[in-house]
């Protein structure tokens, strides 16, 4: 799986939110999209998955253009989307939430089952019958990722998974992302929390006011304190 985004423009009504956003991600790679509040991270991910319809630019998966397709088609091409607001189905059980995400296996990847997901997210194990609305924020964050994985995506768009989580849970999240990377998934991670991104990401794009300002390896970003100060909250 190779995702290529070139020259993306998106609007909310008349507000021009994304201007000329380009980024790439390939299998086995974790790419961080870093930026402050309101920089356009979520909008970028939504434009890729099709929840926001891009006004210009292209999104390609393995060379096939997908922008303009409805979200369910894009999803079936192997893109998984984990929303920032989690959006679990509150009245459904954990099992029900996973069922909604279920899609056929994808060739070349080990298919996800609830049992395998409970290994990845031990907190969820034994909670299969609990209503999602009655879970803690951290548990809901795990559930929303597990639900997306049930679709057997080759690439996951993860919107601020560490937001509002206790440090222990954040550490678990680091482990989860690392093991997904080992499975050979591509991950696009939107983050404000540079420290979190530095633990998992290979490369980084820095977005500000809807434009990509900088692109570098995560090591280069770690070395460049001035850059972090200019564009990110440290």
């Amino acid at each position: 799986m190779r995702l290529e985004v070139r020259g993306l423009h998106s609007y909310y009504g008349r507000a021009h939110i994304l201007a000329d956003v380009s980024l790439e991600a390939t299998a086995g790679e974790v790419v961080a999209l870093l930026g402050r509040n309101g920089a356009g991270k979520s909008t970028t991910l939504k434009s890729i998955i099709g929840l926001v319809r891009p006004a210009g630019g292209t999104v390609e998966v393995d060379g096939t253009p997908i922008s303009g397709e409805p979200p369910h088609r894009i999803c079936r091409r192997g893109l998984g989307y984990v929303p920032e607001e989690r959006r679990v189905f509150a009245s459904l059980t954990v099992g029900g939430n996973l069922e909604v995400g279920r899609q056929p296996p994808r060739p070349g990847l080990t298919p996800w089952t609830p049992a395998r997901l409970f290994e990845l997210f031990p907190n969820l194990a034994g909670m299969g019958g609990r209503a999602a609305g009655q879970m803690s924020g951290g548990e809901q964050q795990m559930l929303t990722i597990a639900r997306t994985l049930m679709g057997n995506p080759a690439l996951v768009l993860l919107d601020e998974p560490s937001e509002g989580l206790a440090p222990v849970i954040v550490d678990q999240m680091v482990q989860v992302i690392r093991s997904l990377k080992r499975e050979g998934l591509a991950i696009v991670l939107s983050e404000q929390n540079v420290n979190f991104a530095m633990k998992v990401a290979d490369r980084a794009y820095i977005i500000e006011k809807g434009r990509i300002r900088h692109e570098c390896t995560i090591d280069a970003l770690m070395a460049d304190e001035a850059m972090r100060r200019t564009y990110l909250t440290v």
Binding site: Y12, G13, R14, A15, I49, G50, L51, P70, P71, H72, C75, R76, Y81, P83, R87, F89, A90, S91, L92, G96, N97, E99, V100, G101, R102, Q103, R147, T148, G151
Partner: protein, 621 residues
């Protein structure tokens, strides 16, 4: 006779009449949950179920044939629902909710004429269900066997739906989509098929309900509107989207009907509203429903641009229009003047509805209650007190205002579609009262011979009088809109929380706005009586409410001039089409076509083209 047996039978009778209500209401609830469309044509699907079952029963015969006919009718109606979804609704899912409603209203009209064409105007008596013609003896009182079959049917359906929603993947997807359909799409589920599937299921349930009640109630052309109001009450009381809630509410209301009739005959309507009042006060989202996040539904499209006082060119255009209207009698014939009067009255009616639903954010599906309320108030005053026209014309808006205060007290406790459904239910109660209370209102025969005073009785004088009153009413609405009251009202529409935090009593604000809007609809109704010389229950009926809705939507909800444009187009159209034999079909088809072609309304469409020239700008984001 054994008392206990009597009460038991009464209770079972209530349960059996709950079955149709439950089937139809659960279907409506399921469709709404996923597609967010309040399917007005649901009553029509119920009616079609009865008619189609009638035809099938005739063909098939026998006990097996009877039940096969009932099932087949359900499936056939489900298929019709799918056709409606695919051909019409699928094209307008992106449009504001109200356009979808108006489209489904077009479907009602089309189905009414198709049913008339196919089965004729005569009521059809339902065949008895073979093998269940008898009665059973319950502690000395007799109960028709078929009543027990209906009770069993509703329990079976309740069980089947519970299994479907909790034990199958499809059911899980539907429940998820009811919460967040966009997210379901992002998880790879094709929403289109989910929508079509729920439409099939929901319509099938309505059809089944109609088919199953055939032996008790037969089939007639009024079934569609008759069940609609009751179903809306059931859904509001039970909680939108909850199947057990629909069951509970259907049983509650039917039992009240069954026992209420014993205590105070003809009190069922009153009792129903007492129950509704109690439920709404303590659980505004219904018995088993979930509270709605504020602003979730009932939003008429994206946030509205702030209203601006009219620009100079718009004012000039208004003055020009006024000049034309003043000069019209000089070169128009009588026929044109009569039409112009009707347009003016309808414009006022539409403007009053626009006031409530556009800037007020309270969509009324039952505005005819106030139009008809004003009309009847004026007519009754003239008839029983012999008062002159001038007094009656003041009495009409006053009484309509009082009525709107009464209904509004309940309505402003709800928002969005719940509020809208409640207004429709109230209007239907009003209609039943004037329709059934023959001694006072003349019932179906209406009240005749209500003519203007001497000085206003010639065409010209009445023309100027109605122009003056309508223009005055519309300007009053405009004036209030741009007054502090209007600002506060729009603030409440845009954010309840923030309005409350700056010290606005949101409910009271909306309550008074609703009443003001109702009063002006009443003024339109009063003028209407004197222009026609008579009043009939039609003036309070659902189609009359929809006239106003269609006018507002034709004109576009977001434009203040919209109602005017809508009234002109619609009144003229109705005048042209009204002479045709199957005018409902033509009008319905036309409404559907317009909604599909101009989802912004005609004035909205024109505004996008001509607006900048008139200085009507949209706010820059």
């Amino acid at each position: 006779m054994n008392d206990l047996g009597f009460y038991l039978v009464q209770a079972l009778t209530g349960l059996s009449s709950a079955s149709a209500l439950f089937l139809v209401a659960s279907g409506l609830s399921i469709i709404f949950g996923v597609t967010r469309v309040v399917n007005f044509a649901h009553g029509s699907f119920y009616m079609l179920g009865a008619y189609i079952a009638y035809t099938f029963v005739e063909r098939l015969g026998g006990a097996l044939g009877f039940w096969a006919a009932v099932l087949l009718a359900g499936v056939a109606v489900g298929a019709i629902g799918v056709v409606v979804e695919l051909l019409i609704l699928r094209r307008v899912y992106q449009a504001p909710e109200l356009f979808q409603l108006v489209a489904t209203f077009g479907v009602i009209l089309v189905i009414q004429d198709l049913a008339l064409l196919t089965w004729g105007a005569e009521d059809l008596f339902g065949p008895a269900a073979p093998g269940l013609e008898g009665t059973v003896n319950i502690l000395g009182t007799r109960l028709p066997e078929y009543d027990l079959a209906l009770i069993a049917l509703s329990l079976v359906v309740l069980g089947a739906l519970t299994l479907l929603f909790h034990r199958t993947r499809w059911g899980t997807l539907v429940r998820a989509a009811t919460e967040d359909r966009e997210m379901v799409g992002a998880l790879g589920v094709n929403q289109s098929w989910l929508f079509t599937g729920t439409f099939f299921l929901g319509s099938m349930l309505a059809g089944l309900g109609g088919a199953a009640q055939l032996p008790k109630g037969g089939a007639d052309l009024l079934m569609d509107f008759n069940i609609l109001a009751a179903v809306f009450v059931v859904v509001v009381v039970g909680g939108m989207g909850s199947i057990p809630g629909a069951f509970l509410a259907a049983v509650l209301i039917s039992e009240l009907g069954a026992f209420g009739i014993l205590v105070i005959p003809q009190s069922t309507l009153v009792l129903m509203f007492v129950v509704m009042a109690v439920v709404l006060i303590f659980r505004p989202w219904g018995l088993l429903g979930r509270p709605e996040a504020p602003g979730q539904h009932g939003q008429v499209g994206p946030p509205e641009p702030p209203l601006r006082p009219p620009g100079p060119r718009l004012r000039a255009a208004g003055l020009l229009l006024l000049a034309v209207l003043l000069a019209l009698p000089a070169f128009a014939d009588d026929f044109t003047l009569v039409l112009a009067v009707e347009i003016a009255i309808m414009a006022l009616f539409a403007a009053s509805l626009h006031f409530a639903m556009g800037p007020g954010g309270m969509v009324s599906f039952g505005h005819a209650a106030f139009f008809g309320g004003g009309a009847y108030a004026a007519a009754l005053l003239v008839k029983y007190a012999g008062s002159p026209m001038e007094v009656a014309l003041l009495f009409a808006p006053a009484m309509a205002g009082v009525l709107a205060l009464l209904f509004g007290w309940f309505c402003v406790r709800l928002t969005g579609v719940y509020l809208a459904m409640l207004t429709l239910a109230f209007a239907q109660v009003g209609w039943s009262i004037v329709f059934q209370w023959g001694e006072v209102t003349g019932g179906d025969d209406g009240i005749l011979g209500i003519w203007p005073s001497e000085w206003a009785s010639n065409r010209l004088a009445f023309y100027y009088l109605s122009m003056l009153a309508s223009a005055g009413g519309i300007l009053a609405l405009q004036y209030v809109l741009h007054s502090p009251f209007g600002y506060a009202m729009r603030a409440c529409r845009d954010s309840v929380v923030r309005s409350a935090s700056i010290g606005i009593d949101v409910r009271r604000q909306q309550w008074f706005a609703f009443a003001f809007s109702g009063a002006l609809a009443g003024l339109a109704g009063g003028l209407f009586v004197f222009s026609k010389g008579s009043v009939f229950p039609d003036e309070m009926s659902i189609p009359r409410s929809f006239d106003a809705l269609i006018m507002v939507l034709l004109g576009g909800v977001k434009t203040v001039l919209g109602p005017l444009a809508g009234a002109v187009t619609f009144t003229w159209l109705q005048d042209e089409i009204g002479r045709l034999e199957y005018w409902r079909f033509v009008l319905g088809a036309l409404i559907i076509a317009i909604v599909v072609a101009f989802p912004q309304g005609i004035a909205g469409f024109l505004r996008a083209r001509l607006g900048p020239w008139f200085g009507v700008r949209e706010m820059e984001a």
